[in-house]
């Protein structure tokens, strides 16, 4: 954690009510009311587990799931409204996606490190370039909102597989200064979001750039390489299998550039590009 500190998480898990859950481009966006917690900082995450029927199907899910928040606002009757963007990829995310308004969800956090501001990342930064892929657009949306509030210019590049995996674009991002890439060519640029990043960097002065990214490991590694080759400061919000979120389990190991591992939950999830050996920890390529 650097710069402004992140808030201290309340000790223990707390029950939060599900206020809303709706479909968005093949993903779900659900809203929890956090009556007690401090306002999270962009990049931070929570551990979530539906209170009823967690483990309801064949004993899974058992562990909570680490999910970055996609939006935070004040709740009219007190506390915070936390929005989460979910893609159903396994038993945990499926159960979270099926939560109904009025149900309760166990929540722990906020945990982890925040994104630096562009000037913290690069003293010459003129603004920020945000590169999001799939559900990884969630922390990018939070960072974008923070930059807007601070009057710092940003451009967002968002990449998706297809229309069925492209939720939250309209709700979480304004149309302005946002460019889209779809691998199937159904909208925007046909191809990868990294194509858009390369195009954008061609016309830019790299010395005034600051790049932020969240998305699938292969995309993050591509963004990391693009930036490192051009000496552009880059922060990545990574994901890893994680049991606890607060440094207890040592499960979320990510290889450091200098050797050894960092614990993504407390040393991340936001890391500098040069800090890590790869954004694809555990992938076959680094075995």
């Amino acid at each position: 954690m650097r710069g402004e500190p992140c808030p201290q998480a309340p000790f223990g898990r707390r029950l939060c009510e599900v206020a809303e859950s709706r479909e968005s481009g093949g993903y779900r966006i659900f809203t929890l009311i956090d009556a007690e917690g401090p306002a999270p900082r962009p990049g931070q995450f929570y551990m979530l587990a539906a209170a009823p029927e967690w483990g309801g199907e064949g004993g899974r899910p058992y562990l909570p799931r680490a999910i970055s928040y996609a939006r935070v606002s004040e709740n009219l009757t007190g506390g915070l409204r936390l929005d989460f963007l979910i893609d159903e990829v396994g038993p945990g995310t499926s159960r979270l996606a099926r939560m109904e308004p009025g149900e309760s969800c166990h929540l722990t956090g906020p945990f982890g490190s925040r994104f630096s501001l562009p000037r913290e990342l690069n003293p010459n930064a003129a603004g920020a370039i945000l590169v999001g892929g799939g559900i990884g657009i969630a922390p990018m949306a939070v960072l974008r909102r923070e930059l807007v509030d601070r009057g710092i210019p940003s451009r967002s590049l968002l990449g998706f597989r297809d229309q069925a995996h492209s939720g939250g674009i309209d709700e979480l991002f304004g149309c302005d200064s946002t460019r889209l890439a779809f691998e199937d060519g159904s909208s925007g640029h046909k191809g990868y979001v990294t194509d858009l990043l390369l195009q954008l960097l061609e016309g830019d002065d790299a010395s005034s750039a600051a790049v932020y990214s969240c998305g699938p490991p292969a995309m993050l590694e591509a963004v990391r390489q693009i930036c490192l080759e051009r000496k552009i400061p880059v922060e990545l919000a990574l994901e890893s299998p994680m049991a606890c979120g607060y440094g207890a389990c040592f499960g979320c190991a990510v290889p450091k550039a200098e050797g050894g591992y960092l614990r993504l939950c407390i040393d991340g999830p936001v890391v500098r590009g040069e800090e890590i050996a790869t954004a694809m920890a555990g992938e076959p390529a680094v075995e």
């Binding site: 998480a9 004993g59 058992y62 166990h106 190991a253 920890a281």
Partner: protein
């Protein structure tokens, strides 16, 4: 209801410990602040296993969720003995509960150094021996061999008067034989169970999921195994048993007490709720009363049919 008890002469305000390696109190203090100290969830804190030299731990992936549990192959990452003694131990003393330090080595000579230097520190109430590592001389995993366990204990026993606890593995046919070896060698207690050997297959890539191929299963999935082993070990040896394996609430904790454990440890449940230890403690009076016990001591001395 008074839950105070003792373990090998260490006075405890209650019977709930943490399993070694399931709660990094120093990281938790950074995350949760002083509330962690004010509401510390355990009556005794057991450190992560300390080794002679720093260890990075295993390559990812290190975790796999299973039905009602998880497999880990963490690989004992740690700062090494020197840095632990200089940097970490003093901070652990601020937790306000007795401290048990877990140590592991691959030969008796290193174990002797670890026990001597750790036990010499006044912050430390007891030392737990993680014997799940192969002995470099014999190639055998010490904790799977009654004779090796006894020999190691005999080598370590003269080094300190502080309690020595042997962590037993469940990956043997007859854990009571290893427990007898530990007792014969002079151990003051055994803690059990360690994780159950386990593996997982990557559902997409057709390879083993865990970075080192296999790991250890924990959580409620192992609780019935742990209860059976605690029962047979507690019936065999005189020294106390620290019971653990999928404890997630007061009822499951009480199951272990009735199986013969003197005190219990919460492990994997800490990952689901950082306050899991407090949840267990808070539920114990009602659980004891519901099952007809007037005190913890009464349950500790109960004999199962």
């Amino acid at each position: 209801m008074d839950l105070a008890t003792d373990l090998c002469g260490i006075e405890l305000n209650g019977p709930v410990l943490n399993g070694s390696g399931t709660f990094d109190a120093l990281a938790a203090r950074r995350v949760f602040g002083d509330t962690l100290i004010e509401e510390f969830p355990f009556h005794c804190y057991v450190s992560k296993t300390i080794t002679m030299n720093p260890r990075p731990g295993n390559p990812p992936y290190r975790l796999w969720e299973t039905p009602s549990g998880m497999i880990n192959s963490i690989g004992l990452p740690g700062p090494g003995l020197d840095r632990f003694l200089e940097r970490d131990l003093g901070a652990m003393a601020e937790l306000g509960v007795p401290l048990i330090v877990s140590v592991m080595a691959d030969c008796a000579e290193d174990f002797e150094v670890l026990v001597e230097r750790v036990a010499a520190r006044e912050e430390v109430a007891a030392v737990e021996l993680n014997v799940s590592c192969p002995n470099v001389h014999s190639g055998l995993i010490v904790g799977e061999q009654p004779a090796e366990t006894e020999a190691l204990m005999k080598a370590l026993r003269p080094i300190t008067a502080k309690p020595l606890i042997v962590k037993l593995t469940p990956n043997v046919a007859n854990p009571q034989e290893v427990a007898l070896g530990a007792e014969a060698g002079g151990a003051d207690a055994v803690s059990m169970i360690n994780t159950v050997k386990a593996a997982a297959i990557d559902p997409v890539e057709n390879r083993t999921w865990l970075g080192v191929g296999a790991g250890g299963l924990s959580g409620p999935a192992v609780r019935p195994i742990a209860l059976a082993q605690v029962r047979v070990v507690a019936a065999t040896i005189e020294i106390p048993v620290i019971g653990m394996g999928g404890i997630g609430d007061a009822e499951s904790a009480l199951d272990f007490i009735l199986a013969g454990a003197r005190v219990v440890a919460v492990g994997t449940e800490n990952f689901r709720d950082p306050r899991a230890g407090s949840v267990v403690t808070a539920g114990l009076p009602a659980a004891l009363a519901r099952r007809g016990f007037a005190s913890l001591a009464e349950a500790q001395s109960a004999k199962l049919d």
